[in-house]
């Protein structure tokens, strides 16, 4: 791929003594939506965290916009234009909804305005003064997504955004993510729910035991359904 937005080469990562990533290689082009699929423990979350710089030890190369980010602290990485929506959502209980939304600072131009975010998630507008953690699971997920849209980051990392949510909310999130893609965001999505991933992605990477073992484009996905299901242990 010429001039990918994100290029990861031989990424290895450790949590303390545990060697989780054994050499991950992949690329994401500008404006692409790429998913990381794999079973629990395959290393998907660790990959996201390594890109974001919040995992213990990492070696290898993570080049964002041509700039090397391995070894840099997470606030530096965020300021390059990467934003992270964690699996546990990380809504701050000591802040209300609006404060949560306004927390991540603007790192670049081009972020969505607060009004635009409220338009995308009207029920957040309703609850803007509520304490962050008093929201339902689905609303917290929307808050977690909305939070990073204001920053101007152009690479968004989503870790299992549909986990544990009702189908109607999963659908809504799918719509939102597709809209984000139309707006030009580049997205790396970790998902266990393959059906959801298939509705939004350009490409899928499959991870197993801390390595990339396969890659499938959206077009090929339908044909490779059995193979993919086997990878996911479904």
């Amino acid at each position: 791929m010429a001039d990918p937005l994100l290029k990861v080469k031989d990424l290895q990562a450790w949590y303390g003594e545990s060697h989780i990533l054994h050499g991950v290689d992949f690329e994401i082009g500008r404006g692409e939506l790429v998913t990381l699929l794999g079973r629990n423990g395959a290393g998907k979350t660790t990959t996201l965290k390594s890109i974001m710089g919040i995992v213990g030890n990492r070696t290898g190369s993570v080049a964002f916009n041509g700039k090397e980010t391995v070894g840099r602290p997470s606030d530096f990485i965020a300021r390059q234009g990467i934003a992270y929506c964690p699996e546990e959502r990380g809504i701050f209980s000591s802040l209300n909804v609006e404060e949560n939304l306004l927390l991540p600072p603007q790192v670049q131009q081009g972020g969505m305005s607060l009004d635009e975010i409220y338009k995308l998630f009207p029920n957040l507008l309703e609850r803007r003064r509520s304490q962050g953690t008093k929201l339902s699971g689905g609303e917290q997920q929307m808050l977690a997504i909305g939070r990073i849209l204001r920053t101007g980051a152009n690479l968004l990392l989503f870790d299992e955004p549909t986990e544990g949510l009702a189908p109607v909310i999963v659908q809504r999130i799918g719509e939102v993510i597709r809209q984000l893609k139309t707006r030009g965001f580049t997205i790396l999505l970790v998902e266990q729910n393959f059906h959801f991933a298939a509705t939004v992605a350009d490409r899928h990477y499959v991870m197993e035991n801390g390595r990339m073992v396969d890659t499938v484009t959206a077009a090929e996905a339908a044909a490779s359904l059995d193979k993919l299901q086997a990878y996911l242990g479904v």
Partner: protein, 294 residues
């Protein structure tokens, strides 16, 4: 006759409660500083008492050596001592965050000994007076109160409420609250959390020093003034719990008043009443009146 005694008693109680407000003002300011530092750094800043003392000394030295008046010292001393705090955080505290929290306690305890010992060695332990910047007094009806002390109570309230406002209602305060909850995530949003931590410690220390400057005209400037106070403030902090800023403020003022009234009702217990309250709170609500169990 009984009415006369009752009136005197009430009069005395009101007077002591008012005086207790003065003590309480310092308890509130110092326990608030401790709570803010503990929230962000997870360190019990034993050095807080020594930094309070440094603030008072800074004001006294500024006056006696450099002819800098009280009102200027009120601004300069906290900055000087606050910078010293920043130095401590960067050189020492930063290295032990990954350890058991008790090490932070031990480190700040050691620093307190060093600072206090040096001041004691240089200036002895007897107190030096500091002239009250606002002369005269006011008659409140039930008592005569030096104007400066009334000013201190009001100033302390303003400072406490300003700090509360700064933490609960501003953007920087939001950063602080969020970083207290989840520093890793906050950093992943692009906020320089280590710098925020240093800033918080510096501000907490500056707050202690500010209290010290305010204390100088009331309590005399001595190298031991912090040591005596910090142990009481610990009890206040255990009673209030370190869950909320407002909790520390309320508890500090309230305990000051309770201490004051005990002086009237049962003088021998005045020194220990706060500890007794602590014992009761531990029996009934171990996390503290405003605390959440950590």
């Amino acid at each position: 006759m009984f009415d006369g005694d009752m009136a005197t008693l009430l009069n005395n109680m009101a007077a002591q409660a008012t005086l207790g407000l003065i003590n309480g003002a310092f308890y509130a300011m110092l326990s608030m500083g401790l709570a803010v530092i503990f929230g962000m750094l997870n360190v019990i800043n034993f050095t807080h008492g020594a930094q309070y003392m440094m603030g008072a000394f800074a004001a006294w030295l500024m006056l006696t050596e450099l002819n800098i008046p009280f009102w200027a010292a009120l601004v300069l001393a906290p900055i000087v001592v606050g910078l010293f705090g920043v130095l401590i955080e960067k050189l020492m505290l930063k290295r032990i965050y990954h350890l058991d929290h008790l090490y932070g306690f031990l480190l700040t305890f050691g620093l307190a000994l060093v600072i206090q010992g040096l001041f004691q060695w240089q200036w002895g332990s007897s107190g030096a007076p500091y002239p009250a910047p606002i002369p005269g007094g006011t008659n409140l009806g039930y008592m005569y109160i030096p104007t400066y002390r009334g000013f201190v109570v009001i100033a302390a309230l303003v400072i406490c409420l300003a700090t509360w406002y700064g933490i609960e209602r501003t953007r920087l305060g939001a950063y602080l609250r969020a970083a207290t909850e989840n520093p890793t995530l906050v950093r992943a949003f692009g906020i320089n959390v280590p710098r925020l931590i240093t800033l918080t410690y510096g501000l907490g220390v500056g707050l202690a020093a500010l209290a010290g400057v305010l204390a100088a005209p009331i309590y005399q400037v001595s190298s031991l003034m912090g040591a005596n106070l910090v142990l009481i403030v610990f009890a206040v902090v255990v009673i209030g719990g370190m869950g909320s800023i407002m909790g520390s403020i309320v508890t500090g003022f309230a305990l000051g008043m309770i201490e004051g009234m005990t002086k009237v009702l049962y003088p021998p217990a005045a020194n220990t009443v706060i500890f007794v309250v602590m014992a009761i709170v531990l029996l009934v609500k171990p996390a503290g009146l405003f605390g959440q169990t950590r």
